[in-house]
Symmetry: C2
Subunit: 303 residues, 2 copies
């Protein structure tokens, strides 16, 4: 990780966590246990990748990181809700997340469902407040909500999780080429869509042009897929303790980029996507340095 990226990630994380502290302070109408359940997962030590993407995208468009913090917090809340719901027994049934017991293991299934619902709901309020604070007009404000909802919703992240759950039914019955196309379809929606929404949110809040937004979307698509391929590689070669995972995808006989292309093939694919990501940033010049560094970091990280 470059010193620039390290500082940027650390700085953005600190600011996002300060905002979380304010947003999730005690409120008279809010059951304490529900707030605790939301905070448990919000403060479980994520990389705050999505807020960083929003902030860096704003910089690319001539804005500043500070203009996107609430939307970044909202995107992180959406990411967090999706982890809570994905871990539920009816979904992926995971006991551990980042080495800690998953939300429903600590608070029970009912509260975990509600904590997720609460985070998702609040996220839109917080994003709308960011648009208002920035003085966005009605059209841009609606566009911000649309971009986030579209990345998170039933054509984006929720679709990806649904398609992932259905994958068991077709796995092993398709040709390699068909399986590869399905796998990409899953990850474009499950991972890339919210990454793209984060970049779009930053661009919208900074008043980026249509061309700038197009470049950022293409960059997001590339790093979103690269991120997932890196995940699949880490699942095979990574340090289980650092990943905080129990049981690998291979043990679960899950279709992954590694099972499809082999370790070297998956690495080559991730590198090609990273190169593509860099290309999409060229028009931004030096303003895109953080996003360049992020693209490299995504496939070299160890957790």
């Amino acid at each position: 990780m470059t010193p620039l990226l390290k500082r940027f990630l650390k700085d953005t994380s600190r600011r996002i966590e300060r905002i979380f502290g304010q947003l999730f302070a005690s409120k008279p109408q809010e059951p304490r246990i529900l707030r605790q359940a939301m905070r448990y997962s919000l403060f479980a030590g994520g990389k705050r990748l999505r807020p960083c993407l929003a902030a860096a995208a704003a910089q690319c468009c001539g804005g500043s990181a500070g203009q996107t913090l609430k939307a970044g917090a909202a995107l992180e809340m959406i990411h967090t809700y999706s982890l809570i719901h994905d871990d539920l027994p009816a979904m992926d049934d995971d006991d551990l997340r980042r080495g800690q017991p998953t939300n429903h293991k600590v608070f029970g299934e009912a509260l975990a469902i509600l904590a997720g619902d609460g985070l998702l709901t609040y996220a839109f309020e917080v994003a709308a407040a960011n648009a208002r604070d920035r003085g966005l007009d009605g059209a841009a404000s609606a566009e911000l909500i649309r971009a986030i909802a579209s990345g998170a919703g039933t054509c984006g992240m929720v679709a990806g999780q649904a398609a992932d759950l259905q994958a068991e039914s077709w796995q092993g019955r398709l040709s390699r080429r068909q399986a590869a196309s399905r796998l990409e379809g899953i990850h474009l929606r499950k991972t890339a869509a919210l990454i793209i929404a984060s970049l779009e949110a930053g661009a919208i809040l900074a008043g980026g042009s249509a061309a700038q937004r197009r470049s950022l979307r293409a960059y997001g698509r590339a790093i979103g897929l690269a991120f997932q391929i890196a995940d699949d590689i880490l699942d095979v070669v990574g340090d289980k303790k650092k990943l905080g995972k129990k049981g690998s995808d291979a043990e679960n006989r899950k279709l992954t980029y590694v099972s499809l292309y082999g370790l070297d093939g998956a690495r080559a694919k991730a590198s090609a996507l990273t190169a593509e990501a860099h290309r999409h940033l060229l028009s931004f010049g030096r303003r895109a340095q953080v996003l360049h560094d992020l693209a490299d970091y995504i496939i070299t990280r160890d957790k």
Copy 2:
């Protein structure tokens, strides 16, 4: 039900269902089974009370029903998601809803959770689009999203469900007065909060004044509680077939207004709240006729 209210409910329902038909048409990125799961619950024959409240509130403020249809659809989507999640085995564990198998009974738990998540997410996009179509400025647009999120979220509907789930732990251990206060707290959040948000949404979209919004909120609080008391009464005296329910609250030993106040006491409370609701509408004059009729209907309905 008065002829005016009957026509208004029928007309609004028809328009909302037409919008649902458009919003939930086939989309290339959306898994078909997920769309089917959302449509199954959306078209399960609800009264469309929340869209009607938004439309009628707009009329009170000098606007028209047509100005609020998308926000009304969004509120109905939020109401529908809450029913899907509340019925889950980890929550209220209901097999039937309006006489039909609940969502997870038909589509499985995982898809039911995702269908709920999808409806909630999409609702904010649709509400924001309504604000944009109406030409609302950034501040009013953010206020619309805030009102809806606040009614639906962890100080509103989600809080109510969480508090309801916790009720088992204190039931029987509190004095009658304490239990009454807790019960009201649950229903103010679980039912009244989204009713209030529906009225607020209508007022915001029609450009209502702060005083008008205050009156509508007070009206919503009164009919929200009256609605719940009527539910509790119906649970005891109503026709199980019409209600489409299996097992009454009394059989489940649940705390209700009837178990607290007796049947006559609960009826008196509902009447007092209805009278209060009428009073809060006085300043609107004849424009509030639909809301007057609705307040009466809520405690005389038989399902």
